[in-house]
Amino acid sequence: MDIFLQQLINGVVLGAIYALVALGYTMVYGILGLINFAHGEVVMIGALTALSVIQFLVASGVPLPGPVVVALGLAAAIPVCMMLGFTIERVAYRPLRHAPRLTPLITAIGVSILLQNAAMIVWGRQYISFPALLPVTSHSIAGATVTDQQIFIVLLAAAVMAALVYVVHRTRLGRAMRATAQNPAVAGLMGVNVNTVISITFIVGSALAAVAGVLVAAYYGIAHYFMGFMLGLKAFTAAVLGGIGNLAGAMLGGLLLGVIESLGAGYISDLSGGLLGKYFPDTFPMFVNGGFLGSHYQDVFAFFVLILVLVFRPSGLLGEQGAERA
């Protein structure tokens, strides 16, 4: 039982990270109907920028407590990502706003590749270790362990989602966003500066990406130029699973995906190698050592879920009818 609980905790934390990134996808989609595939790369740039600042601070020998150093790194990463997000929208998407839907999608992929390679040139190909600056305190709950960091990640993701929901539903800016989502032309006639609203959406989404990037790098203690790709894909899957464009859906989708992955990877070896391979070694010889369908299929679960959702409930679990999409 404690093991199941532990897997559940692993899954929820993983899911919270996915959710945090998925919020960025969903915000942009909610307003523009565009899947910003470069979002994962913004996460990566955020992580690596913060890492560079943190490395510089550590090397300079200024006696600062660990969390402050990380906070300074984050403080540097957020404006960089905001500027990046703004630039991406201005350069790659705005000129194509009235182009067929496929065109901005292809640009998005292009921007993603561009950013990856630029990061590779700047930061190199190797894995970079993220200094262990945050104290890791473990708590024990019914035999399972939870660290402060994990609790912080989940709480932060929840807080960010709540704040976004508040902004979208309760503020002037949110009303402008919803209006733009419904009909940009009419919103413009009503005095909404559509370009500004869209720019702000990208800026806010990119700031979230910076936060997510720093969290991921600190959580795993590792960062590299390729880290945004898989994370972006998973987060996109989470957004679709919950209903893309729907803020609560992104959160739900992220958490579900994290738990599915965690439980799947945690138990598939027991199932394939332990059960089928043990009791039916003749029928399933390939299962005997678990190598045929083992835990390295962790990533497959996410995309298997994506296919199921697209087939049976294309609009996602909570549907696309979030307020932003109206």
């Binding site: 993983l14 894995y127 270790s129 024990s140 590792i222 945690g266 962790q298």
Partner: protein, 448 residues
């Protein structure tokens, strides 16, 4: 600064053009114009391939310099074959650690009529290139490729001067059970050719030694989250976790293992025994044990002399330079013994060679693997890899060597004694038993 760089670049290009031009125009047997001495000179070309650019370039350059040092020494000594002075010429190629580029440069070397190739550095490039060398009848000695497949293809001219992964997995398995007393073992691998091969060999050896494999989990060489499989492993209560894979995964994995409260010893192969792992794992690295083929530099029979020669010319040794040097020297000795620079004649001699190299005795088995290659176990202590003991490497396997009593790293404190490297009695260069205790382990390989 910019100007200087451009100037240097221009110089380099110019120089490369001149050298390249010379290389192409010069037919192998032609006497050099600026050396109009009466005895004719024969140029024998030896290829040297390693990644000279990219993230592994420091390792590649190291290999290349090792081979170059050997060639320069032999040329300085001089060797006369059939009345003609033989001059060896080293052709360095960059395979970028990329299998595709590896085969391209291999073909280029074959077209340039090399007699033999020292290389490549990585298993991934060595294996596809070996077919090209084999088809052309060229000898190949890899200083550092450890994947067993390289010598399992039945190529007569393919050799290596380093223990392979089968030998390494076996040593690790026996060490885990015999020395660390592991009874319940969980194994993780990254499904790469290297990781899977090493883990399979480890499993075989550990089972043969009497341990139970309670869990076998898998990950990929891109993964960063291992909590699910580690939790699954935790449920099986192992006392040792073995990982077959690279440092980029092992680092975060060890850290996650610690936060999950899994109290098992962590053991890995040479993919883990790297300086990068020390950085990536953070404080969780302490007590991790990993192996690496070969002896620590300061325990090599000719380590001291080689270090002096090498550092005077090229600076710090990364890791494989002594192996590249030995590979080149062994090759040339085989040519001398065979009295021929024709691969068809010297390859059979090379296969039977037995000589004392810088890294240890060099002799090949029927496949071309190093006979009884030594494997050294290290443990991470105070952010460094410290040698624990060496298995094999001499005529008599040194598994049960006397110093082995200090098997458990945590029991050793401070670093007051020399590491328990089981140097068998009579090793000529077992000098300075005390001094190496503080010496850092040699820089480690990055990707193999």
């Amino acid at each position: 600064m910019q100007l200087v760089n451009r100037f240097a670049l221009g110089l380099t290009f110019g120089f490369a053009l001149i050298v390249g031009g010379c290389g192409k125009q010069e037919p192998p047997p032609a006497p050099k114009t600026e050396a109009p001495k009466p005895p004719p000179e024969v140029v024998v070309r030896i290829g040297s391939v390693a990644p000279l650019t990219g993230p592994q370039s420091h390792l590649g350059k190291d290999n290349d310099n090792g081979a170059r040092l050997a060639v320069e020494e032999v040329n300085a000594q001089g060797w006369v074959l059939n009345g003609a002075k033989v001059r060896f010429e080293l052709l360095s190629e960059d395979d970028q650690a990329d299998p595709k580029t590896g085969t391209i440069v291999a073909q280029k070397l074959v077209d340039n009529k090399v007699a033999a190739v020292i290389g490549h550095l990585n298993s991934g490039t060595t294996i596809p290139a070996s077919k090209i060398y084999h088809d052309a009848g060229v000898a190949q000695i890899s200083p550092s490729a450890t994947n067993p497949k390289y010598t399992e293809q039945g190529y007569k001219g393919a050799f290596r001067v380093m223990a392979n992964d089968v030998q390494q997995g076996k040593v690790l398995g026996e060490y885990a059970v015999g020395k660390l007393g592991a009874k319940r073992i969980a194994i993780i691998d990254d499904r790469s050719a290297y990781g899977q091969g090493l883990a399979d060999e480890f499993e075989k050896a550990a089972k043969a030694a009497g341990a139970a494999v309670v869990g076998r989990e898998y990950t990929t060489d891109r993964a960063t989250d291992f909590r699910a499989i580690l939790t699954s492993i935790k449920a099986k209560k192992p006392d040792l976790v073995f990982y077959g894979g690279m440092d980029a995964q092992a680092g975060p994995m060890v850290a996650q293992l610690k936060t999950l409260g899994l109290k098992a010893r962590y053991l890995g192969g040479d993919g883990v025994q790297t300086a990068e792992f020390i950085k990536l794992a953070g404080p969780a690295r302490e007590g991790v044990i990993a192996s690496s083929p070969g002896l620590p530099l300061d325990k090599m029979p000719g380590g001291k002399g080689f270090t002096e020669k090498f550092t005077a010319k090229y600076g710090q040794i990364q890791i494989y330079a002594p192996y590249a040097y030995d590979a080149t020297m062994t090759l040339i000795e085989a040519m001398k013994n065979a009295n021929s620079t024709d691969p068809a004649k010297f390859i059979p001699v090379l296969a039977r060679i037995s000589r004392q190299g810088v890294t240890g005795p060099i002799a090949f088995d029927e496949k071309g693997d190093l006979r009884n290659g030594p494997i050294t176990l290290y443990h991470a202590k105070e952010s460094k890899w410290e040698p624990l003991e060496t298995v094999g490497g001499e005529a008599a396997p040194a598994v049960g060597a006397p110093a082995g009593a200090a098997c458990c790293p945590p029991a050793k404190s401070g670093g007051e004694a020399a590491p328990a490297v089981a140097a068998p009695a009579g090793t000529p260069a077992a000098t300075g038993e005390k001094a190496p205790a503080a010496a850092p382990a040699p820089a480690a390989p990055e990707k193999k």
